[in-house]
């Protein structure tokens, strides 16, 4: 009986299998393939040797990683306490929904809002004038890029951390307090280690996209900040050097795999915590 249904049902699997082949495996293969071709469609290793010998490309990559690191760091520092306090609230499901709601507003609209807020006579400069510092150039600086990127990523960090705090068994916290640990000790030795998977998931969700936010570097960073994403977009859509663009793409994929392995959740050794 089972065998019969099984034979008939594999037909249903065809569209999904086609999708896997055409839109998952083929594109990754194509971007690697394309990275070995120069502008004249000749097979070459030149793109890679250019990349690794050019101070500009290497500096750009380091910069991009550094900015992504800063964005992830600030997002984490702001999000962890938020998730922690949020979890203690009474109607936390409702407040959590309020955290998610801004992610539903198109990212470009949010970036556009900051063009207004950070402009010469904008809200931020009015505030600076009011407290006596006077107007500054805010838009098109590195700091404004980091600020807006952090703003956009915060909900994506809060959610996984909130979930891991939700999974935390309160008995551990109570036990730690009963055994005489101070609040800080309880946090450092019990709560934080047990919620680390959430932090790792958050880092994954924030760091990788931060390497490739090319629209923010254009709208807010004013082309001063160049991330890996900006470089790829430029090579594909402006200078039409797809080979070099693909090479940087392969570098970005490698960076992504490194981040995933570093933050990947290993199976807990020994007994499960619950």
């Amino acid at each position: 009986m089972r065998a019969v249904t099984k034979r008939r049902t594999w037909l249903y699997f065809i569209p999904y299998g086609l999708w896997l082949a055409l839109f998952v495996i083929a594109p990754v293969a194509l971007i690697i393939y394309q990275s070995f071709f120069d502008l004249g469609h000749h097979f070459t290793l030149g793109n890679y040797s250019t990349y690794f010998q050019s101070a500009t490309y290497l500096k750009m990559t380091l910069n991009s990683v550094w900015y992504a690191f800063l964005i992830t760091l600030f997002t984490g520092l702001i999000s962890y306490p938020t998730a922690y306090f949020l979890h203690q609230l009474k109607h936390r499901q409702f407040w959590l929904l309020l955290v998610i709601l801004p992610t539903w507003i198109n990212i470009l609209l949010k970036a556009y809002a900051f063009i207004g807020i950070f402009s010469q006579a904008g809200l931020a400069n009015q505030f600076l004038t009011f407290i006596g510092i006077g107007p500054q150039q805010i838009l098109f600086t590195n700091a404004s890029f980091i600020f807006v990127a952090t703003y956009i990523q915060i909900p994506f960090m809060i959610l996984p951390i909130y979930n891991s705090i939700d999974d935390l068994n309160p008995a551990f916290v109570n036990a730690s307090r009963d055994l005489g640990a101070s609040n800080w000790q309880t946090f450092r030795r019990v709560i934080f280690p047990l919620t680390l998977p959430g932090v790792k998931a958050g880092v994954q969700a924030v760091f990788i996209p931060s390497l490739s936010l090319f629209m923010l570097t254009r709208l807010i960073g004013g082309n001063k900040v160049i991330t890996l994403g900006t470089a790829i977009e430029e090579h594909f859509l402006t200078t039409m050097n797809w080979g070099m663009g693909s090479t940087i793409g392969v570098i970005l994929i490698v960076a992504m795999i490194i981040v995933m392995t570093l933050t990947g959740d290993k199976k807990p050794k020994g007994g499960a915590p619950r």
Partner: protein
């Protein structure tokens, strides 16, 4: 005291989260032309928006792509989840899931660039078709991830009972499996819809010249500077997402209540 500090911190975070959105919407009602000084109330920018034929066509395009791609992605994704759930070997299942998640973790630029190479090599013209295909492609994995947990919850005795009672494969699928996993399918469709409406980078790469979606249009207008018509647009879009979130929340609550109710009846 510490509780007060915690609340103060939360208020601050929420204020920062919502300030830009409120700012955008407030200025959509301003009589001026910039987002600097509020010049008194007007509906003018909304009137401009609703008489902007180009913008309305783009809104229609965006909604069409979102609905069509989510429907197709939900269909393919659900079938895929059924297939993955059928696999008996652990290795096959794990590798299928890994492949499924590739597009979930890849940065948008990589997806966009690789799809651009793909379409160009197959000589598929860039425009509505390529955008639709790309959206379907990046929505499928989230549908699979939403449907799979429901499939795992389904007990095999349910299927065995239906088969013993003489159900054909088709009946099994339409009358037993799909009703049971429908909350997952619905959630998947919903997520697919938001992914489509939210996407900018992938569309930007594969859209070509003639076709545009809202995100791409906002990007090109924002690069030209402030235009309060975009503020009016964000007002409308905020209202739209409030309705969507509200609807989603309400349906979830309702289905949870139904579950509780069923449990009470059963016990």
């Amino acid at each position: 005291m510490s509780k007060k500090l915690a609340n103060l911190y939360l208020i601050l975070v929420f204020a920062v989260l919502y300030a830009p959105i409120v700012f955008l919407i407030v200025y959509s009602f301003s009589q001026g032309e910039t987002m600097t000084n509020y010049h008194g109330f007007t509906w003018r920018h909304y009137q401009t928006l609703f008489s902007d034929a180009r913008m309305l066509a783009i809104v229609a395009n965006t909604l069409l792509v979102a609905l069509l791609s989510s429907l197709i992605a939900t269909l393919i994704g659900t079938l895929g989840a059924l297939g993955i759930n059928r696999t008996t070997k652990r290795v096959t299942r794990e590798s299928l899931l890994t492949l499924n998640n590739v597009l979930m973790v890849s940065p948008d630029v990589i997806i966009g660039a690789s799809f651009l190479i793909f379409f160009t090599m197959l000589k598929i013209p860039l425009g509505f078709g390529s955008v639709l295909m790309s959206h379907i492609a990046f929505e499928i994995p989230i549908v699979v991830l939403m449907v799979l947990p429901r499939l795992r919850e389904m007990s095999s005795s349910l299927l065995d009972a239906a088969e013993d009672l003489g159900a054909t494969t088709r009946q099994l699928l339409t009358q037993v499996i799909i009703p049971f996993i429908s909350p997952g399918i619905f959630a998947g469709f919903f997520m697919a819809l938001t992914y489509s409406l939210d996407d900018f980078a992938v569309t930007f790469f594969v859209t070509g010249n003639g076709f545009s979606t809202l995100s791409v249009e906002i990007y090109s207008r924002a690069r030209q500077g402030i235009n309060l018509e975009i503020n009016a647009l964000s007002g409308v879009m905020f209202l739209f997402s409030l309705l969507l979130v509200g609807g989603y929340y309400w349906i979830q609550q309702a289905s949870q209540k139904r579950k509780h109710h069923k449990r009470e009846v059963a016990s």
